[in-house]
Amino acid sequence: MIQANQLAKELLYMADDEWVIGSFLAEMSGGGPFVEENVAISSIAQDEIGHAEIIYNEILDLDSAFQWESADGFVHQRPVSGFKVSALVSAKTIDWAAIIVQHYFYEAADQYRVSQLIEVVEGRTKNVLGQMAREERYHHRHWHTWLSKMSATLEGKRRIQEEIYHYWPKLAGFFHGTFLADDQTTFQSVKKELTTLGFATPEIKEGFSGRGVLSDDVKLLITRSRVLVEGMSGGKW
């Protein structure tokens, strides 16, 4: 049985990942390759940020170590060193091929994480995670469709392949330091899907998580949301 504070820690990893990946994607709204894609990324971004808010609220109920009034405290008042974002999410990019691979990897890992967390939580948290899982399926399918479309041309294939090599170690290390540490399920399912689409996958199994080592982009994101809220009374992220 997992302890409440250990569970709160795992949920915090998830909420931080969701907040950052959603916020980075929101910044891409308007920067997608065509108008329909901009609708899609805005929608995914909104959903991820909404998930972060709900999970932060769940943590408030679970762990008395966090004393903020609402989810906003996690974003606006928490010491920056308290953000536990994974390296996979922390690396911001505006390159479209990189975004596809980063998000596809993240959604695959996130799907596994949610399915495992559902097994160990109870009550409302379990129900919330269950409902998030059915929404996340849309996200996963979206990035998988992009991979498949990109694999249709030589140039698309080359660019995606390059990004697969780049993000692979970050996916491989995604679960390091979490209670899901030794799992290979995500890894195997991603490998299988990529192979089916004709992509090569590296043999690296170790990788690194980089969780809590914040990139400048994440620090900037935190600062920017705080500046926004300070300048705008009653503002929300």
Binding site: V39, S43, Q46, G50, H51, G130, Q131, R134, E135, Y138
Partner: protein, 167 residues
């Protein structure tokens, strides 16, 4: 003396909730099927007073319209005589699905130009809300709100929105 008889009629609360329109869809939140329970508890501190609890299951967990819905419910239900406090509670113990939308709600949405989606024999079936054709193409699995997708009718050549089946 403790009086256990409710000072507020539950039917009146439901009527009141019926007047609350969803901020993103032009139908009542009751027709949308997101209100799943109303509870009335005597407020012992006020003569004849009662507290009202409204349980809501949002269509999507990340739905940003939720705060606005909460505000509208509180504003409306607070108007009822003897209601001293209104609380809106998020309820995730049940899942919202398209089946929770009332027939009247579905007809209204259709009239407005929002179609339903159905999964039949593993295939997604969507009918154009204008000409009823099934000769439609999905332009986008996402839409202007979390719960919608964008479709195009190949018969009447009009774009339209459809609600996600979430299956």
């Amino acid at each position: 003396m403790v009086n256990n008889i409710d000072t507020v009629n539950e039917n009146i609360i439901w009527e009141c909730l019926y007047d609350v329109e969803d901020p993103e869809l032009p139908i009542s939140i009751v027709d949308l099927g997101i209100v799943n329970q109303v509870a009335i508890v005597r407020d012992e501190t006020v003569n004849n007073g009662s507290k009202v609890f409204v349980d809501i299951t949002p269509t999507f967990t990340g739905c940003p319209a939720w705060k606005e819905i909460e505000k509208r419910v509180i504003e409306n239900v607070s108007l009822i005589e003897n209601v001293t406090e209104v609380q809106v509670r998020l309820n995730y113990s049940t899942e919202w699905t398209l089946e929770k939308i009332s027939l009247k709600g579905k007809a209204k949405l259709n009239e407005f130009g929002v179609a339903m989606s159905k999964i039949w024999r593993g295939k997604e079936i969507v009918r154009c809300p204008r000409c009823k054709a099934t000769n439609v193409s999905r332009e986008n699995e996402f839409g202007p709100t979390l719960c919608k997708m964008i479709y195009y009718c190949n018969d009447c050549r009009e774009p339209f929105e459809a609600l996600k089946s979430l299956l």
